[in-house]
Subunit: 136 residues, 3 copies
């Protein structure tokens, strides 16, 4: 079950992924599910997996764009460092794209919901994909 559900706001001008990681550190969250994020962005960088192992394209999207939704997880690597892995869906009137959240600057707000798990999620490098993949 979710032992705690955290809902918090990331503010205008802040970098979304950095602030979520800070929040997790500050609240001792090392294992969780990113249930959702809505709001708007001033600018975003999304990654798209093009080939294996680990070949990405990184694309810059100027805003304002709505954060329509986001999902992902909070887990630990072998060295016990935190990985916050998030995919995000963005949309304006003329464009709609989603992908792996690399970096994003908040426009008006980002409302984040994280469900803290009662067991530890872990990741390890997978030689086939070249990425840190979920274990278990």
């Amino acid at each position: 079950m979710f032992k705690k559900v955290h809902v918090f706001r990331v503010k205008p001008g802040q970098e979304l992924l950095t602030e979520i990681t800070h929040y997790c550190h500050d609240h001792d969250i090392s294992s969780g599910v990113v249930i959702g994020i809505i709001g708007s962005l001033e600018r975003a960088w999304l990654n798209f997996l093009m080939g294996l192992p680990g070949k990405y394209d990184s694309v810059d999207y100027p805003g304002p764009l709505e954060i329509v939704c986001a999902q992902g997880s909070v887990a630990l690597k072998n060295d016990n460092s935190l990985i916050v892995h998030i995919h995000v869906q963005l949309s304006g009137q003329d464009i709609c794209r989603g992908g792996h959240l690399a970096e994003a600057t908040v426009f008006s707000t980002a409302e984040v919901a994280i469900g803290e798990l009662d067991y530890q999620l872990r990741r390890q490098v997978d030689n086939y994909t070249g990425l840190n993949e979920l274990l278990g």
Copy 2:
């Protein structure tokens, strides 16, 4: 944690946001996370934030369109009135857009999941964004 997870259906021809708000009133939900909505719509109005404070464009999308997903929250304002804040992702074969759900008519169904929180979410007008923003 989620003290209760509500899953319910909104039916053909009903207005999605109105029915979700009614459900919350009928079930005494004043604080929650909209975990998801899937289904299809006959028509939808989405808002896109264009500038601050609070400058929106409102766009009408004729259906049928799939409700691919939705996220958001249920919270109280200062005057204890309810705010259901939802962003929704829509798609057909030829178009895909998402944004702030202003109004939508259900086509076949809308399956809504709301996680009721064990603490109170609150919103207050933020002078910078001109919008009701999450507190705390």
Copy 3:
């Protein structure tokens, strides 16, 4: 509440919906909310509801495509067989579409989160929509 939150990985080359259904059978999950799925796909078939009762178009999308997000539910039909109903949002740099997940082959990974419910979700054929709709 969610009596258990399951987080698991579907691996490269596997069919996403089949693996999720297997996971539910193996872990005795007959009632739940699909909280999210992120990852990437090699190929996907999505269905789009075009008319009622139950008139669908099925479209094939070649990958690689990001799984940006997914939502849905696990429920039982009258005959106690399992229905996993999922809508999924896909995106690449040049295309972005979402719909009813009919079939999909995983590219690098699919990270699935399912919240198991403490009550039974049920579906029944609805004569108006021609589809298995949520009861209650």
